[in-house]
Amino acid sequence: MKKKHQPLLRNSGFQALIASLFCILLGLLIGYIVLLFINPNGAWKAITTVVKNFLYYPRPNKQLQYLGDTMVKTAPLLMCSLSILFAYKVGLFNIGAAGQYVMGAGASLYCALAWHMPWYICLLAAIVAGAFWGSLSGLLKAYCNVNEVISCIMLNWIGLYLINILLTTVKEVASPYTLELAGYSPGSMLPNLGLNTLFNNSKYVTIAIPLSILMAVFIWILLSKTKFGFELRATGLNKEAARYCGMKEKYNIIITMAISGALAGMGAALLFLTGFEKWSCTQSSVPAMGFNGIAAGFLGGLHPIGAIFSSYFIQHITNGGAYVDKTMFSAQISDLISAIIIYLCAFVFFLKQFFTGVANHREEKRAGKTNEKMGGEKQ
């Protein structure tokens, strides 16, 4: 049987793509208007700097190196966005990705710096720590009816102070930062398998980047091609119906939060085990990575493969923010743009309905025309 032709506007993937592009363009436009208000002279230059990011450097090998840097930070962001979209598919809003990320960072760095464990153990420790932290929210939701958003936020702050205390034992004497990973525990660094040669021998490009993409594919398969994924999504769509069908909805909530937490925890290890960043033990705010993951997850249309591209985009403009002229604007303008994009993402549902409406309207028109034609032939 021939597959029925479906208008492009009805295709949900196409709708999501157009909606995301719309959010990006409108987000940049609003960001630009804000910049115009702040300082009309430098606004255009600033917004192009944010969008260009590494292309800011004229020489190609420098560009490659900074492209590498952007990708190094894209890997954890992708993991966080996977964490959020995975939970969201099951009807849970995991705003705690930030806290699970913090736990992952703490566990991996502690295993590396205090016990000099090999990298795969450190990575595993981060996954376990993140999963544990996530499952706490799941347990509270399943058995005590605590809204996961509130419990996640509380756990974010508890996690932050906990990890600050833990990592103070492995920090440099003179600074609030943790010890240099390359110097103290080179065996804990993620291997690069020669990937770094592709990026002008960037020190920080490791297997983290392909690993995160593999995880995106894995999550995609898990959610859309397996019975387990189907059960989880069914629980998300209708908890009562899922229970009626014999699915264990409490267990599903806990396991979802655990997997979601594991993804965020792993994301932290993928960043901190490259040595790209150190943990500051006096940090008084939860790292933005988990929150940017929300932006990336929704911008990617809540699809794991879409998340790869949206994560890169969000990280691209976040890094680009670092290059703006500091005498006029602050680096936070890229945070501002991504926050605007998240806000706009809330309208995606409406946009999709709008597209479907347009498609319906067109079909009606066409149907009306063919009817007229047929009527004409009869006469």
């Binding site: 809003f93 705003i95 009816n145 906990l162 809330a346």
Partner: protein
């Protein structure tokens, strides 16, 4: 001890104001996760007023005008939630999260731009308002009385009367419990929900202003309000969406928050030699435990978080 009392009362006032705001929004049927962002924006409004008002307007002028500025900015900002959630039926959790991120990012950008335009070497994200802040404080034998403590009590009384004794309050609650029946007797659900969100914006904005005047030093906008908006939501849940119980809950949470500020003043607590991080964690741990114990028999408004669809009646 006076210091502990003073901080407890200040932090309780913040929590009470913001939690009452959340209470109005949720009774109308809109979950306001974005209180944190609303607080930051309200704080920005208040701080700007304190910074730029001339000293000639007097103490009363500074107090009332900066409160006015905070509540106007807070309520304008909350409109972003109202439009998305009521007119466009957006996911309220997502919009709220966006407001939280947007509030911090936008205020940081604005404050930094303002600072660097006045002095190119100044890249900090603080506003100088220490001098004007004194207008809010009355020193009574070592105890710093803050006018906001009084304001919080007044707000509590008004909220109680408004919610239970007026036609408006009862209609508001109807929209959160069963919007379809409210609609069927001619109450505009959209208008009521707008009112609920705007009230939460007003109270959240004032709460943000109280939060920044509570600290000893100037406040960095990039730090946001450290989860206070969410603590307020926890207070609201613990208070079972009822103003008087919310007030009690706010006192308890305020006490734990104050402990982390002043524990060094108590010899026996200082002698325990516990890392300061533990005290910082305390309010959050307490709220988790309390939520775990009290959320089972939740009295949340039944229709909260669900966009009202006239066609679905």
């Amino acid at each position: 001890m006076t210091l502990l009392l003073q901080y407890t009362l200040v932090f309780s006032s913040v929590l009470l104001l913001v939690a009452l705001g959340g209470c109005f929004s949720e009774h109308s049927g809109i979950i306001n996760i974005g209180l944190e962002g609303i607080m930051v924006v309200g704080a920005l409004g208040g701080a700007l007023a304190m910074r730029f008002l001339p000293a000639s307007v007097g103490t009363f002028g500074i107090v009332s005008l900066s409160i006015l500025s905070a509540l106007i900015l807070g309520s304008l900002y909350s409109l972003l939630l109202a439009v998305a959630a009521i007119n466009f039926k957006a996911d309220q959790t997502l919009v709220g999260t966006a407001l939280n991120l947007l509030g911090v990012a936008a205020s940081t950008v604005i404050v930094k731009a303002m600072n660097t335009s006045m002095d190119p070497n100044n890249v900090s994200s603080t506003i100088q308002y220490i001098a004007a802040k004194k207008a809010f404080l009355v020193n009574i034998r070592g105890f710093e009385f803050n006018w906001f403590m009084l304001l919080a009590v007044v707000a509590l009384a008004i909220a109680y009367v408004l919610l239970y004794k007026t036609r408006f309050g009862l209609r508001l609650q109807a929209c959160g419990e069963h919007p379809a029946s409210a609609d069927s007797v001619g109450i505009s659900v959209a208008k009521m929900r707008y009112a609920g969100v705007l009230i939460s914006g007003v109270l959240g904005g004032i709460g943000g202003l109280v939060y920044i005047t509570a600290g000893v030093s100037e406040w960095k906008f990039e730090n946001g309000v450290a989860g206070f908006g969410f603590l307020a939501l926890a207070v609201m849940i613990f208070g079972q969406w009822k103003p008087l119980r919310i007030a009690l809950a706010a006192l308890i949470f305020g006490l734990f928050r104050a402990l982390s500020n002043v524990y060094t003043g108590f010899d026996f607590l200082a002698a325990l030699n516990v890392p300061s991080g533990i005290y910082n964690m305390l309010p959050y741990i307490v709220s988790l435990v309390v939520l775990a114990l009290t959320s089972g028999k939740s009295r949340a408004p039944k229709a909260e978080g669900i966009p009202y669809d006239k066609g679905g009646r």
